[in-house]
Amino acid sequence: MDKQQEPAMIEAKDVWKRYHGPFGGGWVLKGVDFKIPRGVSVGLVGKNGAGKSTLLRLIGGMDSPDKGEIIERCRVSWPIGLGGGFQGSMTGRQNVKFVARIHGGNADIDRIIDEVQEFAEIGPAFDQPIRTYSSGMRSRLAFGLSLAFNFDIYLSDEATAVGDVTFKQKAKKAFKQRVGQSSLIMVSHSTKILEDLCQSGIWLHEGKAIWFDDLKDAIDAYYDSVGHKPKKKKAKQTK
């Protein structure tokens, strides 16, 4: 209850967003409303094209809503994902240096580089151009880089999807360590990692956002809407 008293970290007020493509474009978000309290990690679920990445980009400040507003009362990271954030022609090290510099970390650039290198564990590839990286290596670097800065909220857009087991373990551990200090807004189609890292859930459905205090309810509602029963779990249980 006391969570409700204190102002929410992120507040979306009637957010509308549409894209104007060459073939027209409909509304992606039609009046999204939610409040994310301090210290709560949120999993975003919904089918492909429901607007999960769009919402994340809006929260990350890479785009602005057509109507409504998003109020942020904390430091929010850039969306950590497969695509953006790295210049392909530059090496991993150069990209890390760039990001450290724009965050004003000129003084402790060496510490940041060490931290990223240690987390990413990509070895000599750190000095190779990013375009030569596999998607797994990219997301290792992206995750390591964002963790080198202390944000209150980290935005992750399927950043863990392509990682191997050790990387997933590592990412999980890193966030478990930060419970209480920082939280996570995560888009993922892997329910397992969502359940491991998030407590609450937002289900994006037909342009609306539905808030669930418990992530499991959000996932269940999502699965119900697409007529899908979580087969994997049942299969495991019968084994």
């Binding site: 890479m62 430091r75 953006g84 954030g85 210049q87 530059m90 240096k97 004003g104 402790d108 202390n150």
Partner: protein
């Protein structure tokens, strides 16, 4: 430990802009110098080859070598270098957004930053190229030392600002219509001739001169020559203020476009 973290201290907006600019500057410099193994050499070789070929062609045609009040080769060299300075700034500024697209994921990086930083870096490089040209042709025995160096810097500054303004404007344009880059490249060729870089405008009829004087590049090219060679008579009616007017207008208009379309450029 936590307080050492740069993300924990709140920076003023000016400091954030400064950090972005310095980071972009280093990034731009590295990528400009390492695009291929030839890049740093090409930076100097391109204008030199350009001039050598043009001098050879003019020698071969063998007419109009008499420029009143100035030696022909230094006259040509300073005109070409100034024009190339403008053109490089324009084209590089125009392509700045495209080549830094991935970096707009960080909310403190604005498209206008990339254009500004790239033009600033290019202006420095081109100033360096100009100095090398001056020393090289002086060494070869031409009269290349400017008679009025400070006034020459003033003209070069106007040219730089004009290049920045055009870069700011066209960078927005090519983001939304990539095809327009081709048109810009197409325009830059006739501009080259209309700016009196290789053809002396003095020899043209007065009626045409009047018309050509709408082009601010002609003003700048003629003025820089007048500052370099005190005996040289530039085309009647050139004024530095006219170049600055163009520069100020293009910069303001370009910045306005950047403010208006910022979100749409980043969202792409």
């Amino acid at each position: 430990m936590k307080d050492q973290n740069p993300a924990n201290t709140v920076r003023s907006p000016y400091l954030v802009a400064w950090h972005v600019w310095s980071a972009l500057f280093m990034r731009e410099f590295v990528s400009r110098m390492t695009t291929d193994r030839f890049a740093p050499v090409w930076l100097f070789l391109q204008p030199i080859l350009h001039i050598v070929i043009l001098v050879a062609v003019r020698d071969f045609i063998g007419r109009g070598r008499l420029i009143p009040g100035a030696e022909f080769i230094p006259w040509l060299v300073i005109g070409i270098t100034t024009y190339i300075m403008f053109r490089t700034l324009w084209i590089q500024g125009m392509n700045a957004i495209q080549s830094n697209k991935a970096l707009f994921a960080y909310r403190q990086v604005h498209p206008a930053d990339t254009v500004l930083v790239r033009c600033a870096m290019e202006a420095k490089l081109q100033a360096f190229v100009l100095m090398i040209m001056v020393f090289m042709f002086t060494g070869l025995g031409h009269e290349m030392i400017p008679d009025a160096p400070l006034e020459a810097v003033e003209v070069l500054l106007a040219m730089t600002l004009l290049g920045l303004g055009m870069g700011l404007m066209t960078s927005v344009m090519v983001t939304f219509f990539p095809e327009s880059a081709k048109i810009v490249n197409l325009i830059s060729l006739p501009l080259y001739f209309l700016s009196g870089v290789i053809l002396p405008i003095q020899f043209m009829p007065h009626g045409i001169q009047e018309f050509l004087l709408y082009n601010p590049l002609l003003h700048a090219v003629e003025l820089i020559r007048a500052e370099f060679f005190s005996t040289y008579h530039p085309v009647r009616g050139v004024s530095l203020w006219y170049v600055y007017q163009w520069a100020i207008c293009t910069i303001l208009f370009g910045l306005a476009l950047h403010v208006k379309f910022k979100i749409r450029m980043v969202a792409r």
